[in-house]
């Protein structure tokens, strides 16, 4: 089972470290990371494996939001993207 973490906001030091730190703490394996800076906006998409998660997905989301550094962070099961964008 995999989920997608998306982070959008103002670029600053430590965003990737914060997100991957929380992933490590909750035993979510990072499968793939894509990031880019469009103008001053930082956009990062991280694919994580959540089959061995040591907490609920909701807890992971809460933790990310609480430490979100003012960024917009979403955690969504990958199925939603597959169903929406693939026939």
């Amino acid at each position: 089972m995999r989920a997608v973490i998306s982070v959008v906001g103002e670029d600053r030091v430590g965003i990737l470290a914060m997100v991957s730190g929380i992933c490590a703490k909750t035993n979510a394996n990072v499968v793939e990371v894509t990031q880019s800076v469009l103008q001053e906006f930082f956009v990062m998409v991280m694919l994580i494996d959540i089959s061995a998660l040591n907490c609920e997905l909701a807890d992971l989301r809460r933790e990310l939001e609480e430490n979100g550094m003012g960024m917009k962070i979403q955690v969504m099961h990958e199925d939603i993207f597959h169903s929406m964008h693939r026939i």
Binding site: M76, H77, M84
Partner: protein, 452 residues
């Protein structure tokens, strides 16, 4: 591999464009709860609703967390209660109070099905239930009511139409201290669908399975944003195509959530209702889509054509995205629930006559329209008859949900709050149709009914 553009598109739809699942509605048959003793019948109803829907809200929240998609409402629809009243007798209010209690226990925000199907005539229980609707809506918080007074197959029951004019008025009078909200929870239908997940008109038809999950999606903001992105240069064929593609994506999400809810609850998945359901929130308006297409204001000339195209494109896009489509499926135009419609009604650009024309080409009908409190019951009945005639002849669902604003007149407003929004009192032609309404009887089924 997932494409970053696709991912960000979905995230933007949810975060910025108000994409959400409007409702997961569990349909529950109460036919096995009938008992000749009304107290016993109510006990069984309460027990069955709590048993079937006990986990509905919890599962809905789990799905929200897993997929990161808001599910705004969790609701229940039940067998038309008039059928139970027919078997048990007694005061139908007992059922209303039971439904309200059950809704509170399981934590849903509406329960629909305080209903009667009288399109060809009244059977035992129907008259008693209809007469009790105003009291039921004034004494309960979550109960929604609907009455089907006509169909393409059977014509229009004008005795029921006349009665409903009075019932709507009375429902408003009894809740006058609460913005006449009783009338906002009462829908009069022609060709009512049996699997509609949207309130206030949801009920669980007698042809439905024992328990079923139906889903209604919502995404006017997403459609408007997609059109805005495409700019003013694309022609209307391209506009229709953009709407189709967007509706496909929105509906796929409904299909995913519906099948997941059905799996987790162990209940069969019924249908996805392909509707564009607006909310009063800025950026979630059907009227604003029409204005994005190119109207100065919703309600002006061109509105009906734009709406017809929108409605058709939503269906074309949605139908391939879901294994089973049903319910109302189309664009809704509830005036008080749509920021753009509210503004157009306030400025006088949107009139009831124009709304009536719009209902001929879109989902449902005259919805959430506030009218002067002194409007005669027969005028309301005339309005219902007109709307039912559009539905009957065009083989589509139409409905009337008007709210007589007791003690108020054109220029005043009612504020319901929440999803029901707020609406200005709209002018309605007060010339009397009493002579026709008092004739009663039935408008015979139209020639369209003879399709065999």
């Amino acid at each position: 591999m997932l494409n970053i553009g696709d991912i960000m598109e979905t995230v933007t739809m949810i975060q910025d464009e108000n994409l959400d699942i409007r409702t997961i509605t569990m349909g529950i048959s109460l036919l096995d709860c009938c008992d000749s003793d009304i107290d016993r019948s109510c006990e069984k109803v309460y027990e069955k609703i709590c048993r079937c829907a006990g986990d509905l809200v919890k599962v809905g929240q789990e799905i929200e967390h897993t997929y990161g998609i808001p599910i705004i409402n969790k609701r229940i629809s039940v067998t038309p209660i008039a059928m139970l009243v027919g078997a048990s007798g007694g005061d139908p209010i007992q059922y209303a109070l039971t439904l309200d209690k059950a809704a509170r226990t399981v934590g849903v925000n509406f329960i629909g099905g305080y209903s009667a199907l009288v399109h060809k005539g009244f059977s035992p229980g129907d008259r008693e239930l209809i007469a009790s609707i105003p009291r039921a809506l004034s004494q309960t918080e979550f109960v929604c009511s609907s009455v089907n007074i006509g169909s393409t197959k059977s014509g229009i029951n004008m005795d029921a139409v006349r009665t409903m004019g009075h019932i709507i008025k009375e429902a408003a009078v009894l809740t006058a201290d609460r913005q006449c909200v009783g009338a906002a929870k009462l829908v009069v239908f022609c060709n009512a669908p049996e699997d509609n997940p949207f309130m206030a008109g949801a009920f669980h038809g007698p042809g439905e399975p024992d328990c079923v999950i139906n889903v209604g999606v919502s995404g006017p903001g997403v459609v408007r944003a997609a059109l805005a992105k495409a700019g003013p240069d694309c022609d209307l064929t391209e506009v229709a195509d953009i709407i189709k593609r967007t509706a496909f994506k929105i509906t796929r999400m409904g299909q995913l959530v519906g099948s997941e809810a059905s799996r987790r609850l162990g209940v069969p998945f019924g249908i996805v209702d392909l509707s564009l359901a607006p909310t009063p929130a800025v950026g979630d308006s059907v009227a604003h889509i029409l204005e994005e297409i190119g109207l100065e204001t919703c309600g002006g000339c061109g509105t009906t054509a734009a709406l017809a195209m929108l409605n058709d494109a939503v269906k074309k896009g949605g139908v391939m995205a879901s294994s089973n489509v049903g319910g109302l499926s189309g664009a809704f135009i509830p005036v008080s629930e749509d920021a753009g419609m509210i503004a157009a009604a306030r400025s006088g650009d949107l009139t009831i006559e124009k709304l009536e024309a719009m209902t001929a080409v879109c989902s449902v009908g005259l919805d959430m329209i506030v009218i002067p409190g002194n409007t005669e019951a027969d005028v309301i009945a005339g309005l219902i008859a007109d709307e039912a005639a559009i539905g009957m002849i065009n083989s589509k669902t139409t409905a009337v949900r008007v709210i007589p604003a007791i003690g108020k007149d054109v220029g005043d407003e009612l504020v319901f709050g929440g999803l029901l929004g707020s609406g200005p009192v709209m002018r309605i032609n007060q010339k009397s149709p009493s002579k026709m309404i008092l004739r009663g009887g039935r408008i015979p089924a139209p020639i369209q009914a003879l399709r065999n």
